[in-house]
Amino acid sequence: MSSTAHMHGGIGESIKRKEDGRFLRGKGNYLDDFVLPNMLHMAILRSPYAHARIKSIDTKAASARPGVVAVVTGELMAQHKLAWMPTLSGDTQAVLATDKVRFQGQEVAAVIAETKYQAEDAVGLIEVDYDVLPAITSPDKAKAEGAALIRDDKDGQTDNHIFHWESGDQARTQAAFAKAHKVVRLHTFYPRCHPAPLETCGCIADVSPATGKATIYMTSQAPHAIRTVFALVTGLPEQNIRIISPDLGGGFGNKVPVYPGYVVATAASLLIGRPVKWIEDRNENLISTGFARDYHMTGDLAVDENGKMLALRVHLDSDNGAFFADAQPSKFKIGLFHIVTGSYDIPTAHVTSDGYYTNKAPGGVAYRCSFRVTEASYLIERLVTNAALELGIDQAEFRKQNFIQPEQFPYTSATGWVYDSGNYPKAMDVALDQLGYAELKKDVEARRKKGEVTGIGIASFTEVVGAGHGAEFDILGLRMFDSAELRVHPTGKAILRMGTKSQGQGHETTFAQIVAEELGIPANDVSVEEGDTDTAPYGLGTYASRSTPVAGAATAMVSRQLREKARKLAAHLLEADEEDLVWERGKFYVKGSPERFKTIQDAAFAAYTNLPEGMQPGLEGVHYYDPPNMTYPFGTYAVVVDIDKGTGQVKVKRMVAVDDCGTRINPMIVEGQIHGGLAEGYGIAFMELITFDDEGNCIGSNLMDYLIPGAWETPKFELGETTTPSPHHPLGAKGVGESPTVGSPAAYVNAVIDALSPYGITNIDMPVTSDKVWAALRSKGVTE
């Protein structure tokens, strides 16, 4: 089928994707496509109120509906000690509400019925009597005097404060600020948005009454970790739990957490003895599952008289919703936000943060982002452009003056990160060159003189991806390593299984290419499987751009391990000393006699048929890779915008994105990832918003209110690249999926602010909609 099917498919080859065939034919295996014998359907009743006490729940009418098998309430779950569950951030979360509802859309009860239509019918008949309480919809309201206590279920909790967390050196930072020539401040709100993968979340729980085995099909980016969490929550023995994460219709962080629906469906299947399917609808997805961002940030940047950055001070208030259920490594309450010094050689920094409960959905996830690095990157890049504008220095020049220089790597940042590698000036130069920056600036000047509103935005982001290492980064104590198991069959074909889980990233192709490169078996002869915990080796899953940095490294290592065994087999077949064999991708030959060779396929066959004395048969192996450090992809993005004075409409004229993600395994797939991230970044910058009214009603609860960019709005992208391999990754790869979402929002908004800067406008919070731009222009008398 594919025009590249004949290619070897080693590293750097843009072979077409191996997984495409089933998707193109409508034969993908997404969760809702599975139909099990005797399967029931579940629908969830959710709270219409953001904050209310439950006085009573009457399920009689619902139970009497045709087809209804059971109605599950919090009371029933409590009888099985499952009314509450632990969160990934060490808090608790209600599975089905027993006492109060704490956000609009919270799970209150569930109906299990023969068909999904019957389940939905009955949900509407459950009668809940609520006593409505005041809703708290922001950190400011959460900390106000006399604010209602949201988490009155928690012993010792007397207010809505969750945590205080700090990083950096306060005293040194204060001293640097005292000596500063100038301090530039930016207060900005990175609003709540939502990953909104096109496929919503869901599961089919199938607990066999005969064997006790719980097979749970689940939209999960991290099936192994989920299995362990399920074992801990339910008390089921872990070997009796099998999580199968089938084809995922996107994830972007949304499919990392455990949601109440999974727990209820599993409990229902256990109690009823039949499979139970639960698929959330789009409204449920947007109002109740893992949101992103919602950080109120204030940054101060101290600079000297020459424009050298001296210190950075940041405070943020984090809005965590009703339960602290952020998906992030245990130690870090604000994720990896403390990488906020970004690409700059800032001698000292101090970051403080406070988290608050609010009557909003819980579960802060990293929407296409490595644990909150997006918010950090946005703050520093917006602050740097504002500082340049305020200081009257060109924003590219100001960045270059303050970049960490190539010779400074490995570089230890003010908050303790050890950046593995980088060449920031080079990426900047490539971007400026591609943009034609010098000419463009003249054009902007000329057009401004004519009264036009136009500007250029730049962002030079540094990412931090590929968690672990395991000693520092863990999820609920599970070290963040990953794995690859490679089995080479006698005929020289192979199967590779990993602890990660693709959601569209093309793992079936990319990881086959690593085997093709390192073990010499053509990519088309390597099938890649993920997502079934009964068959795949344990790993922490796919998020935080960690698949290639961690599982990709594991794949390279296991391939090399098998190559060494193959060398011994080839030496045996050639009756040569293994020291005398030379490896050339796909074969070993005798040094000086290239015509005397054995292929990797010959060696594989020998592993099962013709072994040297004492060698174990087979050519199979597994590697668990705990990376020595994170990887640090980076790049420079540049955006040009025109703004219509009359309407405030922003038109993105150009978007140049130069990415350095180290070695690119399949450049076509890498570029596809970048396109997608730039589009989601555009959505976040200009369109996507989950917000709430004073009663805590979620605005943005469907795709008519939560605006996702379509082909018409999305700008065209111009890509560029530099390559600075990671020094510690076996292939030099760094991960790329999230860089464009991390780097691009600031570039887009910086362009708008640059365009508006002649009028004294210094900030507009995202999403930068036409009405906000128009209001800002109007406030300055620019438009009527």
Partner: protein, 163 residues
């Protein structure tokens, strides 16, 4: 009530409740699960099928409204092992990632190519503006459709794929 329609060239009928949506009829009654549900509100286009050659979002059409109509779904694009030009285009130009929007995108764009064999990039973007893709940023979808247009112009007999 009984509903009868031609789906991918074959007459199909079933007893359904009057309220059953076309997408549920296709997925549940006919096991044609290539047509996906992404929003239930006609916003995302994952459920797009062709009804009498026109792209239609099947999550807000009742099955009974399709009575007597000619329905084409993603499963009807290829002819046996031979992919239709639009499918080849999506593969060759990396026009899909997670694949969830892909059937809807292909049903819209194959209909576009039927009435406009040589669309401009903007005409393609306008045609798919009712279909959301969360993965690709649309760049390669546009290329995929152009690729298919070129294939079809070279081999007119293949136009429209396998019927």
């Amino acid at each position: 009530m009984k509903v009868t329609m031609r789906v991918n060239g074959v007459e199909r009928s079933a007893d359904v409740e009057p309220r059953v949506m076309l997408v549920d009829f296709l997925r549940s009654n006919l096991a044609l699960t290539g047509t996906h549900i992404g929003c239930d509100t006609t916003s995302c286009g994952a459920c797009t099928v062709q009804v009498d050659g026109e792209p239609v979002k099947s999550c807000t059409v009742l099955a009974v409204q399709a009575e007597g109509r000619e329905i084409k779904t993603v499963e009807g694009l290829a002819t046996g092992a031979t992919l239709a030009p639009i499918q080849v285009g999506f593969h060759e130009e990396h026009g899909l990632q997670c694949g969830f929007c892909t059937p809807g995108m292909m049903m819209v764009t194959s209909a576009l190519l039927e009435r406009n064999p040589n669309p401009t990039d903007d005409e393609i973007r306008w045609a798919i503006s009712g279909n959301i893709c969360r993965c690709t940023g649309y760049m390669n979808i546009v290329k995929a459709v152009q690729h298919a247009a070129q294939l079809q112009s070279r081999t007119p007999a293949m136009a429209g794929g396998g019927e």
